[in-house]
Symmetry: C2
């Protein structure tokens, strides 16, 4: 952390004047230095080739520090992942901060440091940004917007309209981990070992699938808010096809499953940060799983179901105890401010 003559954020830091300048010079610009930021302009100009992907996310997670990570890392990984779901490699990210008056500089610095490390790990540059400050009680510590630009892989042909009956639905890793990490923290539940958020970049796995299997990869989505069930409901409604899932196949870590039971939650609806759903041509399903398993974060990749012509617009689950149930969209708010 740099030497600063202030240790909390004040409204003056959002003035656009001297204090904003001090904060940016001492913190942001020094931390994220690159030739685009160097220009100190209202925006960055960039050279980029071919088709691009563009994605935005606001992060309002509470608390901002949580088991395994903080809002800064989440904000970078989340946007890198959203771009990967578009078949793109993230290149540039903008950083919009809304700070609450009274935020400790020490906390802000820890979050910015996490952003820097995550950006380096994923190969993206923070090229432009904006900082605003709101009065105490008009925000909550820190909200972050990251918006990213990525280069679409030339072999990518991701398009919901390409999904057909018979396509396999693959999940890259165990579900419900992020949501349960946040919820057990909020509820003060204790397990043998701490349940940590699964926030992590998944772009290398996603891009490897596209690189290897091209347009056999028809759809990629990361099941964040609303979980796996909600994403699959959206897809089935929009594509007017059915989804059939096999509950026996669902990958859920033992402790996460136990926490779901205690909390009365269905892991299908719990938020994730470090996994994705791939909808792929049936014939490459095995190859997809094999490729994912070559990655540390893909060891538990598994086919969880398939696309069907029947029961269009609905997600059916073949229950582990026999029988079928409909898994609708998440109704109401299971867990506010999960990301």
């Amino acid at each position: 952390m740099p030497e600063l003559d202030f240790d909390v954020i004040t409204l003056g830091h959002g003035s656009g004047g001297r204090l904003t300048n001090d904060l940016l010079e001492a913190g942001v610009f020094r931390l994220f230095q690159n030739k685009e930021l160097q220009q100190r302009h209202d925006g960055a100009t960039l050279d980029i080739k071919g088709r691009i992907a563009f994605s935005t996310d606001n992060y309002v997670i509470s608390p901002v520090f949580f088991p395994g990570s903080n809002i800064g890392e989440l904000a970078v990984n989340g946007t890198v992942n959203d771009l990967a779901m578009c078949g793109a490699r993230a290149r540039y990210i903008s950083l919009g901060l809304i700070l609450e008056e009274g935020l400790k500089m020490e906390e802000l610095w820890e979050i910015l440091a996490a952003i820097k490390i995550s950006a380096e790990n994923t190969g993206v540059s923070i090229v432009t940004g904006d900082t605003k400050v709101v009065e105490k009680g008009k925000g909550d510590s820190i909200f972050i917007n990251t918006t990213g630009i990525g280069e679409v892989h030339p072999r990518s042909n991701i398009n919901i309209d390409r999904i057909e009956p018979g396509d396999a639905i693959i999940l890259s890793g165990p579900m419900a981990t992020h949501g349960i990490a946040i919820m057990t923290m909020r509820e003060g539940l204790k397990f043998e070992s701490e349940i940590r958020s699964d926030t992590r970049p998944v772009h290398l796995m996603a891009l490897k699938l596209i690189e290897s299997l091209g347009d056999n990869i028809k759809m990629l989505r990361d099941p964040t808010r609303g979980g796996v069930a909600t994403v699959l409901n959206e897809i089935s409604r929009q594509r007017k096809l059915g989804v059939e899932l096999d509950e026996n196949s669902f990958p859920v870590n033992r402790q996460v499953a136990a926490a779901c039971e205690v909390l009365g939650l269905d892991p299908l609806y719990v938020a994730n940060e470090g996994i994705f759903i791939a909808i792929v041509k049936e014939s490459v399903s095995g190859q997809v799983i094999d490729i994912l398993k070559t990655f540390k974060d893909g060891k538990e990749a598994v086919q969880i179901g398939k696309i069907t012509r029947e029961h269009a617009g609905k997600v059916y689950v073949n229950s582990s105890i026999g029988g079928k149930r409909v898994a609708g969209m998440l109704a109401g708010e299971q867990l506010p401010r999960i990301c």
Copy 2:
């Protein structure tokens, strides 16, 4: 406004589940329909040619409805203008909403409608977005992030390093209007006629200058928070040159000037939304003003000063009553949450 079965925003609208879906389908997607949004994906894929500009801004203005406009129009114009300052024509915008629980749908709808109209007026498409909801008392009605991608004009060569002693500093229109509109509203001050914010797109003026005069246009900046003085201080510090301004030349509307007097504010430090500073080669100064005057919003364009080799890093003002004074950066917070 569409028929909805809810009239205020609840936490469930941020769940990512059914209520989020209802809000997006009934509101956002229907309002902003285009082929990118149609994909309902985590991001948009776009075709864009040549060099791009990329800019982000959070809008946290309070109140969200103010004389002359609302936060929605401000959020579109602001990002279109930031891109124009990079010599670019805005093409695509992302929309990140942070809604406070309890926000009236009627208000949200009015803001979204303003976004739609401003986007149409400026020729940009809203191609991707994100909506989050925070608990009552953890936000303030609505915060908006807009991040934009623009195509840089092929003749643009905007770069702070190209500024040289002798360059002319042109202001495209009267200063201090936005800040004074917000402040008189907050303070309940009354004038003969209402002072309205000057929020408006300035991209046509900026791009016309570049189109006509190419690299004679060395720098463009819109003096929002911190006003004209703060932007010129940033430039003079970074470029290590001086700035000399002529107070007699400053364009300020009569009522705005009167309000500044009443409130004890120096218009040089008050926020603007609908004007910009152009730093141009001295020899084209007259042409720049002539071109700006062909636009309705450029009728009061004027040269307010010049770049000097002397007093590097400082902004001097030749006062209207004789004598010279230094105009430093805005210190402290003159007016919180102005944009």
